[in-house]
């Protein structure tokens, strides 16, 4: 019963949001405000339950794991940003977070996003792969080099450099085109999802 009611409310709110496509109206604004309010409440509860209760209160108060206290204190320091007098103290917590994050990320990103990607740009030998795979890799190499030349700004793009950067622009345009195509597909998929909800889930819930 409640699930069915929820589906009906979901359908009504979907239609209210769609009404913006005609023009702005109070129904749309109500649905928008409802979404913001419900989301804020949901996320507040989730974050409090998952972070403060599960990750701090239970281990420290319930199990006496005092190693988590420094982390908790740093977390509280961030909240001091709300007061002008003591907001400077929040910088210690942010500095710690930035340092830890950089330590986590920089070596791993260098290895996984740069070194491995550079290595995989080079074509395999004919002994390892088919002629088509090698040609494909060569094509990829041309694209990478010409795009890198396009982004080289220390010399005027004339002569050979200009022609290579033109090739780079062509590769970039193809990349942007593919990206745009995928974006259109993604947006249409979202619409399909809503329509499946309206035409399939809703009648099912109402037992048509």
């Amino acid at each position: 019963m409640w699930e069915q009611a929820g589906i009906v409310v979901g359908a009504l709110v979907t239609l209210a949001i769609f009404s913006l496509l005609y023009k702005d109206n109070p129904l749309y604004r109500f649905a928008e405000s409802l979404l913001v309010g419900v989301s804020a409440g949901y996320y507040l509860v989730q974050y409090c339950f998952s972070a403060i209760y599960r990750k701090f209160y239970i281990p420290v108060i319930g199990e006496g794991d005092l190693w988590l206290l420094p982390g908790g204190i740093l977390g509280l320091l961030i909240l001091l940003r709300l007061s002008r007098r003591v907001q400077w103290m929040s910088r210690y917590a942010i500095a710690f977070y930035v340092a830890a994050w950089s330590g986590y990320l920089i070596p791993s990103v260098l290895q996984e996003r740069i070194l491995i990607q550079i290595r995989s740009t080079f074509p395999p030998s004919l002994a390892e792969a088919s002629i088509w795979a090698v040609l494909g890799s060569l094509f990829l190499l041309v694209g990478v080099v010409s795009i890198l030349v396009y982004f080289f700004f220390s010399a005027e793009h004339r002569g050979a450099l200009g022609r290579i950067s033109q090739v780079g622009i062509t590769f970039l345009m193809v990349g942007f085109g593919a990206s745009f195509g995928y974006t259109v597909m993604g947006r249409v998929s979202l619409l399909i999802g809503r329509f499946q909800y309206l035409f399939q889930d809703l009648p099912q819930a109402l037992s048509f």
């Binding site: 005609y22 989730q46 599960r54 986590y104 990320l105 993604g186 399909i192 999802g193």
Partner: protein, 313 residues
């Protein structure tokens, strides 16, 4: 290109045209002006019909599977009964339409092969999605919570979650989402880190697949497959090409391909007709817009006017 201008802009363009032509000259204004300044509400209606009609009257257009989807399928197919996988629901309700079909199909494939699933989410908004899908698919295959699958819930800070699971899943999740101690869950016997996991599946709408690759894949050599939104798929190709990702699905099309490979029809395959017809409508609008642009360009060339109406009359 078809502009998404409203009626106000149409009037502006028409007045500009009148000013150029002068009084007494009658020209077939409707041709390129209509194409160039189409009312966006007309476009919305056509797209709505293009999406709705195939959902009501399916066309059953063929779906061909891509190499990436086949690689994703093969990774799942290699799993043996009793193997464990980590399944991370790394998305929220805004991308459910694209990613729910992937999650459902992957769990169906896993449960059909009696593979055990350790589920979690790195998004607060993913909790409800994960619970609903796990319950639905587990019921379909008579799977028991705690023995065949477990849900750890949401853990704040994805970076710490990914790294810590390489050391100990138990220390990362002392309890499951329903407050049961992880040590007491039968499924968790002998399972505590990536070394004990055959495959990691992330279904994500963000760059999270990259972080799983960087930390779980790079540091702990965990084998990974990913389901991504269409927008994200473009950024995932380099990792697949480099072998850092064993397979991936891109958007609703990827979900449909995978559903076809496992032989179970779902929302992905059902949505493919609508996707194809909507794309056809969009391509038609692009062609019409460009025809209008070319006509306008040739006319302004003849009259010696500006090359583009967007530059002013």
């Amino acid at each position: 290109m078809v502009t998404q201008s409203g009626q106000g802009e149409q009037m502006g363009a028409g007045e500009q045209q009148d000013a150029r032509q002068g009084p007494g000259q009658k020209t077939p204004r409707w041709t390129h002006e209509m194409l160039m300044n189409m009312d966006r509400r007309f476009i919305f209606v056509v797209i709505a019909i293009a999406v709705a009609a195939p959902l009501i009257f399916p066309l059953n257009l063929p779906v061909r599977s891509s190499r990436e989807a086949e690689a994703y399928f093969n990774e799942m197919e290699k799993l043996q009964p009793g193997d464990e996988i980590i399944f991370s629901f790394d998305y929220e309700p805004d991308t459910m339409a694209e990613l729910d079909p992937m999650s459902v199909a992957t769990l169906r494939h896993a449960f059909r092969k009696d593979v055990r699933v350790l589920a979690q989410t790195t998004y607060a908004g993913g909790v409800g999605i994960a619970e609903r899908i796990l319950r639905q698919v587990a019921q379909e295959y008579d799977k028991v919570y705690g023995e065949d699958y477990v849900f750890f819930g949401y853990n704040p800070d994805y970076s710490a979650t990914i790294l810590r699971m390489g050391e100990s899943i138990r220390s990362n999740y002392p309890t499951d989402h329903y407050h049961a101690p992880t040590d007491g869950i039968p499924l968790m016997k002998g399972v505590d880190c990536y070394d004990d996991i055959e495959l990691l599946v992330t279904v994500t709408a963000s760059a999270l697949a990259e972080y799983w690759i960087i930390w779980a894949g790079g540091k702990y050599k965990q084998r990974i497959i990913a389901g991504n939104t269409a927008i994200q798929a473009v950024l995932i190709y380099p990792y697949y090409q480099a072998g850092q990702l064993a397979g991936f699905l891109g958007g609703l099309k990827g979900a449909a391909e995978y559903e076809k490979l496992i032989g179970v029809s779902g929302a992905g395959l059902l949505g493919m007709d609508a996707q194809s017809v909507a794309h056809l409508a969009i391509v038609c609008f692009i062609i019409l817009g460009n025809i209008g642009f070319l006509i306008q360009k040739s006319r302004t060339k003849q009259t010696g006017g500006p090359r583009d109406s967007r530059q002013g009359g």
